[in-house]
Amino acid sequence: MTDRPQIEAAVEAVLFAASEPVSRARLLSAFDDEEREEAAAALERVVERYAQRDDRGVVVEEVAGGLRIVTRPDLHPYLRRFFESGGRSRLSMAALETLAIVAYRQPVTAPEVQELRGVSSSGVLRTLLERRLLRIAGRKPVVGKPFLYCTSREFLLQFGLNDVRDLPPLEEFEEMMTADQADRAESRNEPREEIPSDPEGEVEA
């Protein structure tokens, strides 16, 4: 039997985890029939708890036929500052792809990267340069003398490599991805054949 505080807690948890406005009816669907009345009362207490107060940063707002917890709009300058201050830097999928192409095809030019990715990549290349994951290693002696891109020392640090030659060949990756029982059993046996096959035979100390 669920007790009163538990139901109130559950209402708050659901409201918190749902980022979209939730109608009262839908919110109450998380509860059994016999709990529902209690849950409806709990919901009103939770809403009250999230009423605007000077020292509270989040409020419950009623919008689009539903309820949701949101940050107080007047505090948004702080949020903006917080998110702009960066924090954990992220690598987009485009950047990761570009990085991978440079890593495996270096030295490589922007048009060559573009050819492989199928989209212009100069913006991404610039970002990777700024993040010091790539470096310019010179210019290719062809028409237009495009820059040649290589990976940097920072890149090696990021991926725990001593040398770009340590980059695993794609086949190794594929092997890893397709390793199934059979392969694994086989590879397992190989280095182990040194074990005397005849247990009754001579054994070294």
Partner: protein, 267 residues
Amino acid sequence: MRSGASPKGRAGGLLPDAWRIQLPVFEGPLDLLLHLVRVNEVEITEIPVVLICDQFHDYLALMEELDLDIAADYVYEAAQLIFIKSRMLLPRPRRGAEESEDPRENLVQRLLEYQQIKDAAQSMAEIHELRRGIWVRPPEKVEEEEEEEESLDLGDVSLFDLLGAFRKVLDRYDREHPPPLVLEGEEYSVRGQFQRILESLDGDRPLDLLQDLRGRSCRAEAVSAFLAVLELARLRLVRLHQTGEGELLLYRTERELRIEELEAIES
């Protein structure tokens, strides 16, 4: 239905017949060994190798009987056990003052380590199960930013991601650049395109050049078609007209093609 070949005998009932029906749930040979240690009520450090070895082999025999795939890992451990057992049975050399090494030492060490790992895994399972109940909020967008792109935390990005990304690039490239269909060279020749375009211009309807070029199967064919149009224009067989929308329309002129003109075109 199978009968006989009961593996009991040596195991002395320690391997319940139930095993014959129930699939083993051991995580591996070490897990099985730990189980045998437990049911024999002995300390890992005092493992009775001869007994355990026999029980282990009985178990493998049972698996075989049930047509279960015996993983190489089990076979390997079985060989190890026989190896240790044989050494246990050999008279210990008493030469010198130094005690001869216990042949079980390595196995005991591994079992102790594995026991620790299992215990840790067990606790971790409980923690994970409890924390599975934790829900977080999706990150809030302060302002309506442009469609958030999928991204990874730089601190978390590893070789696995790099390789995965490269694989994806290559796969996509292959998909978008299927190996060109093997067509007869003629299809790509300027003369071939020349004839094709000329034929398609029979009648009063103009040909939308850009659309036609876009319809070519590959760049080489498009280039040939374009060169063919230049030839057609040079021989005044067509008239080019640009519309307000930027379309390039080809109109057939009255002029007839002479055979030697056609033959002069690169094939």
